[in-house]
Symmetry: C2
Subunit: 137 residues, 2 copies
């Protein structure tokens, strides 16, 4: 019995390891992709846990979207246009889908689960934009 | 004389062709890159000539930045978070540099020339953000 449980734990762990989204460190962005940008506006009293966002929230999204997600990028805001001005956004997260139909299905299916996780890393009300990548070089 | 001028035109044309920025249709985005995002807010009476922007303004920027520019992406805003809501931004342009020093030098050197071209495609006052790509997959 003990061996069976141990084996089950090992196999589950291995399967989890194989299916879990792993960061590759680079994205290939192609013209025609549909991009969902989630902006987190800067402002007084705004909090944002970048560690949780990059290591928990966005990997969770990647797991939910699976192979429908073509690329994922996270920006950390450093500054604005004028010298020493704050960045308009603390952070921006991007999901890239191959086409609009896939984007709408995936966002429709998983946005509730993703939204429910937002209070775990920020008190900011995110702003969302759907775009088409019209040029990539 | 006529032959000399013809040759000059051909050689100049060839050199221009070799040095001019050509769209490849895909971008490789890497973690650690410094990203300049130029947002063009949506709004009543706002005009934006996407054709001029993609075919003249952004290629001009790419020519000015030369091999210091690692990637360039243009988004066309399609919609917002709520169904049938407008996109917060009509367009967003992105320049990717290898590090902050290169970004600052390049933007410092060429932003005046780029700003001077803005009235040729839009009446919108763009909003700028400098970010670090903290995750790319």
């Amino acid at each position: 019995m003990k061996i069976k449980i141990t084996l089950l734990v090992i196999v589950t762990g291995l399967l989890y390891g194989f299916t879990k989204f792993e960061s590759s460190g680079e994205s290939k962005i192609e013209e025609g992709m549909i991009k969902v940008a989630i902006f987190y506006p800067n402002g007084e009293g705004n909090t944002f846990d970048m560690d949780y966002y990059t290591n928990n929230h966005m990997p969770m999204a990647a797991d939910l979207f699976g192979d429908k997600l073509k690329a994922m990028v996270i920006d950390k805001g450093l500054g604005g246009g004028a010298p020493d001005s704050p960045a308009p956004y603390v952070a921006v997260g991007y999901f890239y889908f191959p086409d609009m139909a896939t984007c709408q299905t995936q966002m429709g299916t998983h946005s509730e689960a993703l939204r429910a996780d937002v209070p775990n890393y920020t008190n900011i009300q995110p702003v969302l934009q759907i775009s088409e990548v019209v040029s990539a070089d």
